[in-house]
Every structure is written in C-alpha cells, then in structure tokens.
Amino acid sequence: MGEQTSRRRFLECMGWAGTGLVWTVSGGATGAAVLGAAEAAPRGKAVVTPFSFVQVSDSHIGFAKDPNPDARATFREAVAKIKAMPDKPAFILHTGDVSQLSKPAEFDDADQILKQAGVPVFHVPGEHDMLDEGQGKAFLDRYGKGTLGDGWRSFDHNGVHFVGLVNVKDLKAGGMGHLGEAQLAWLKKDLAGLAASTPLVVYTHIPLWTIYADWGWGTDDSAQALGLMKRFGSVTVLNGHIHQIIQKTEGNITFQTARSTAFPQPGPGQGPAPGPLKVPAGRLRDVLGIRSLTVQPGAHPLALADNSLA
C-alpha cells in the first residue's frame, strides 16, 4: 500500500502554450485512492467493472462565424470519431451548449448528428440552451426525460455513480454559474446513501471551480456541492463552457474542462473578452475535440484521453 501511495501521482499543469493549457497525464491509474472499503452502506457497494464513455461539449449548433463557418460539420466529425472508436463507449455525456440560440432546428440537427454515434446520450444544458421563450423549457422538453427539477439527474453504471448538475438556470446579475438550494438539497440526498468507495463522475456545464471570476468562469455555490463529495475516494468533475482543456486536482477530486466541437476560447484573462478565439482555418481542428474516459476497478483518476478533431 505504501508503495502504491508513493507512486500516486496527479495530473500536472505544464504551462501555457498558444491558445490552451498544455498538460500531461503522469502516473495514470494508481489503484491507491479508493478509500472506505470497510464502510457499510445501504447501496452503492456495486462492484466496479470496466467500461468507457465519452464527453462532448459546446457543439453550438448554429454557430457560423469566424473561426468556424459550420459548427454542424465539426460536430459531425466529432461524432464520426466516436463511432470509429475500437471500443464502443457505453454512452455519451454532452456537457451543454448543444445549440447556439436554443432554436428547434439547432436542437434537431444536433440530435440527428448525435444519433449517428449509436449510443445513449445524457445532456446537461449550457446557457445557450436556455434562450427560448420558456428560458430552458425547450431543452427540458427534449432532453429532460428522467431528470428532476431544472434537469439534474443521477444514474449508476457498472458501479460508478454519475451525477448531472445544472448550473446555468436563473443566473443573477454579476454572478457566475449557480446550482441553487433545491438542487443542492437533492444532491445531498442523492449522495447520502453511497459508500465512499463509490467512484463519482459529476458532469455539468460551467466549471465547479473558479477558473476566472471576471469572465464568470466558476459556480457561485459550488463549495456546498464539493463539500458533499469530499468523502469520496474518487471524484471526477467534467465540464465544458470555456472551450479548452484545463485540469486541476484537489484532494480526491479532479476537475476536467473539455474542448468544444465548435470553436476555441482564449485562456483565462488572455485578451479583452472570452469570445470565440480566431485561429487560422488550418488550425481549427487542432483546438476542437472530444474526450474519452475509461473506468477500471480501483483506478483514480479515471484514464482520460482528449482527442482533437485534426
């Protein structure tokens, strides 16, 4: 065990280069971080068995400006990459901003493209998915089956507990992302019965850690949510929103923000505003991508691969 612990290494940020954060995975799976094996629990003692899943984010169907004249085309390429994976993923998590303007045709096209992957998709909304007259009703009508409240949900797969959180509803002037009391109360109940050894995967749109407050890149009341997760031995938080890969580890929680399939954004505070980052056409696909994650029993952090569309 001591040897395992000493071998435990975490992801390390390596510094800025160009438009995104370059980072490397060191050590990979450690087998040392699953705690609380002796705890008794009414549920959640399921045995973890291997599987993989995919995260896609910020498809922004309908976006057609510099640097990407056709976000549908790049989303199609992303889904083709998923379809071509040698090991079929169990499902896809879409971490929000499916659409650019919440238009029915944008959601329709996104669905048609995603369907090609041939696996189930679980959605959480981004702020661009809340722009219909009903302020999110269109999204919820379409993707909300089996969810609670504003679209949050949890489910279990092969011994891993997945939690989809909504942090783009009813945002307040001057604030950042927001979970709200009702969702936090639900989360507390949802996690209460789980053994601490249960691996958690939390997926949401806006980062749950504050990457850059001046641009709203954080969630105001995330501390309460993260507090509920601290006791777990393996927590992976996946999000989108900022269209670039940034990673951070805090105790047993790893935070992973993902690329968009539509356009990149500047690094935190790099430039006057977080608008679409203009890159030459030949470089666009280098900075768009999808993410695959592999679950192995006793492995934390999850093995993760970010694949560009190039």
Binding site: M130, L171, A173, G174, M176
Partner: protein, 113 residues
Amino acid sequence: MSHTYLRGGLAVAAFTLALNAAAAAPVAETAKVTIGNFTFGPAALVVRPGTTVTWLNGDDIPHTVVAADKKAFRSKVLDSGDSFSFTFAQPGTYPYFCSIHPHMTGKVVVKAS
C-alpha cells in the same frame, strides 16, 4: 356656403393648432448602448424620463439585456447585429445584465434634469 367655408376654416385652424402642439411637445429622446467585447458601453447611462434606450449587439456572440430584478425589462436573445429597445418612463436606477454572461452588467439612471 359661408357656413361651409367657416367649418372648413375651423378645421384648418384646428389642424394648425395640432401641428403647433406637436412641435412644442418635447421630442422623444433616444440613447444607445453598444455591446462589444462582453461589455455594455457605456456601462452607466443617465437619461431623462421618456427616453428610449436601444442596445445593439456588436459582438460575435449572442447576448441578452435583462433587468437585474428580472421584471422591469427583458430582451429576447440578441444575435450579432440585433438590437433591443426599452422606453424608461419612470425615474429611478435600473441595473441590468446579460443573462447568458451574468458578469456583464450595466445600469440606466433615469432622472429629470
């Protein structure tokens, strides 16, 4: 005949009066806020009651204009080049934000000068 003439003359006089009244009334004022680089410019705007403020989205990303109390006014989503107008009848301070990017804030101060 004279009766008819008189009536016609009155009608002309009334029309002229109406024109004069319209010219004498204060012209409805307008003001503009431009959205660019995820900011409202100017961030604070002072106008007189009755002013119609128009926000123009000059950014390459959609924005909204929503009163901080979420009641006084709320635009639909403004894509690039879209605009939204609201007439401020009552004096007061009206803070607002972009509901998509809530770190974007501004205010309209309405006061009789």
